[in-house]
Symmetry: C2
Subunit: 327 residues, 2 copies
């Protein structure tokens, strides 16, 4: 019988052989990696090209992931399947035809917004959330048609709830935590999580310190206890992991993530002038080798081995199988 796969549904690292080897050491069968923050279509294609080079260079460590079945292929061959996603709709520019094009190239998740207002919806940092736009409604329909998953991790509450309602297929919050546990702008209130999960959508828990109670000092116990409380409310089957691991990047990269080309002024996002860079990770999750810590923590928090395995990847795997292609 095939072991339940271990999946991290959000990472954005400074990719290297070292990190790919750590994925193997951590028994990670699949990772959803971000390949666009503010890139336009052509720039995003360059990022697909860069990954093609890595697949050529490290064929024993990683492989391109397109379908749920690729997670099994990766398991069977001792590799990690890499699935692509965008944290912003910038890659499709103003062209709805690009939705199918980026799906053909392998994109499987796309956020409708990244903090700011986009052509499609409102980001969580805007003062006013005006909901899904005219183009947004069309793009949601097209994403549903081809099997590109709507990710609302960085969107405003109203936009997220509207997206969950408008979408005819489950959507995702790939990397965020409950606002109740840690009231950060990026974390999600119960009604938002409910709107997403009640339609078969998924919530991936983030380990990015700005999303954690006590930030870098957050304990594993607190994190897993929070997951247990969330499972009580929304069921353990709609939950997974999306660590938001941003390993080995210089701080200039977090500036690009926050500011892109949209402002001449620095915007610190979740950071501050006093702490503008990437925050240090909690001691119990520094890189891909630490997933056992989380799985053990979940069991200590009361989850059965099956439930814990589901949260560690089984649930994302089922979600992949249902949502990565035409219905």
């Amino acid at each position: 019988m095939q072991r339940t796969p271990r999946i991290d549904n959000l990472q954005y690292a400074n990719w290297s052989e070292k990190i790919f080897r750590q994925m193997r050491e951590g028994g990670v069968d699949a990772v959803h990696v971000t390949i666009a923050y503010h890139e336009n279509f052509r720039e995003t294609v360059l990022n697909f090209e860069q990954w093609n080079r890595w697949f050529e260079q490290y064929p024993d460590l990683i492989m391109k992931g397109q379908w749920a079945s690729d997670v099994q292929v990766a398991q069977d061959t001792g590799r990690t399947a890499i699935f692509f996603g965008f944290q912003n709709p910038s890659p499709i520019e103003d062209d709805i035809g690009l939705v199918e094009i980026v799906h053909s190239l392998g994109a499987r998740f796309m956020q409708l917004t990244y903090n700011n207002q986009s052509l499609l919806a409102t980001g969580c940092y805007e003062d006013e959330d005006s909901g899904i736009t005219r183009m947004g409604k069309q793009v949601i329909k097209e994403m549903n048609r081809v099997g590109l998953v709507i990710d609302m991790s960085h969107s405003g509450d109203r936009s997220t709830i509207e997206a969950a309602d408008i979408s005819e297929r489950p959507i995702a919050i790939t990397h965020a935590n409950p606002y109740e546990w840690c009231p950060a702008l990026r974390n999600k209130k119960d009604d938002v999580i409910r709107a997403v999960t009640q339609n078969g959508g998924m919530l991936g828990f983030s380990v990015y310190p700005h999303h954690l109670k006590d930030k870098s000092d957050c304990t594993l116990e607190s994190f897993c206890e929070m997951i247990a409380r969330t499972a009580e409310k929304f069921g353990p089957d709609r939950l997974g992991i999306g660590t938001d691991l941003c390993q080995d990047h210089p701080d200039s990269v977090v500036e690009w993530m926050r500011v892109g080309r949209w402002s001449k002024q620095i915007d610190y996002g979740e950071g501050s002038a006093a702490a503008p860079g990437f925050p240090p990770m909690p001691y119990w999750f520094e890189d891909n080798r630490d997933f056992d810590n989380i799985e053990n923590g979940l069991k200590a928090a009361g989850f059965s081995p099956e439930e814990a395995a589901g949260i560690m990847g089984g649930n994302w795997h089922r979600f992949y199988a249902e949502n990565f292609g035409p219905k």
Copy 2:
């Protein structure tokens, strides 16, 4: 037992429901269609997008073709599988990484040149053919790796022979005829055809009048007799059809094909100032409904039913199976 598929390995029509229905009436199981003459990458992507719209609009008539097995799917479902190709390497611009990207999007043939010198090789209209360029050698290797077929229909003789030698997989002349039968600049001398076919490559016979003996007045008998002579020299298994059907286009399109953006002066290519437009097709092949004429003509010229079926599509189908993906 599955009927040998009927494949036309080159068309560039003004696509419409009418033409898709004619494909069905003509029992055409697969067509390799040109989607770029001078388009850059982004413009080519718009052409992929246009085809995606047609696949959505006419799901009962056509389907996207990516693999040889799709030809069988098309047969089983009564549709025509559409395979994509470029008549110029303009879609990959100066970026070798785009070779795999366009393959992921579905491109299966790419000419290294279209009449003129390109970044990769020399076209058949240049005075000097300097052979495969430095970038050309790298791109051939990359096309071999991913399974994008090298098409030399519009290339110079030296470039074609060099490409056949350098390429580690079979290449193709998708649409041209022997120079011996009709000494047009676009037709191919025996040593060129030999270089291509002796390594498992294919020659597709063109019905475009400028490539025919007596042009629009060419008889079916003369055309099929020419195929019989070519089969005697190079074997019947390396031969197929690539009609170069350019149906329903206004003459402005042939001007775009010939001049693109590379000249401010008109260039008549195979035409002339007196006859600048598309030439009239021969009476025995006006559109997709006329493939029976060719198949019957082949039998009348002495081919066995099996050999005729191979030339009408079986040979291309085998070539597709061997060359449309990584080895």
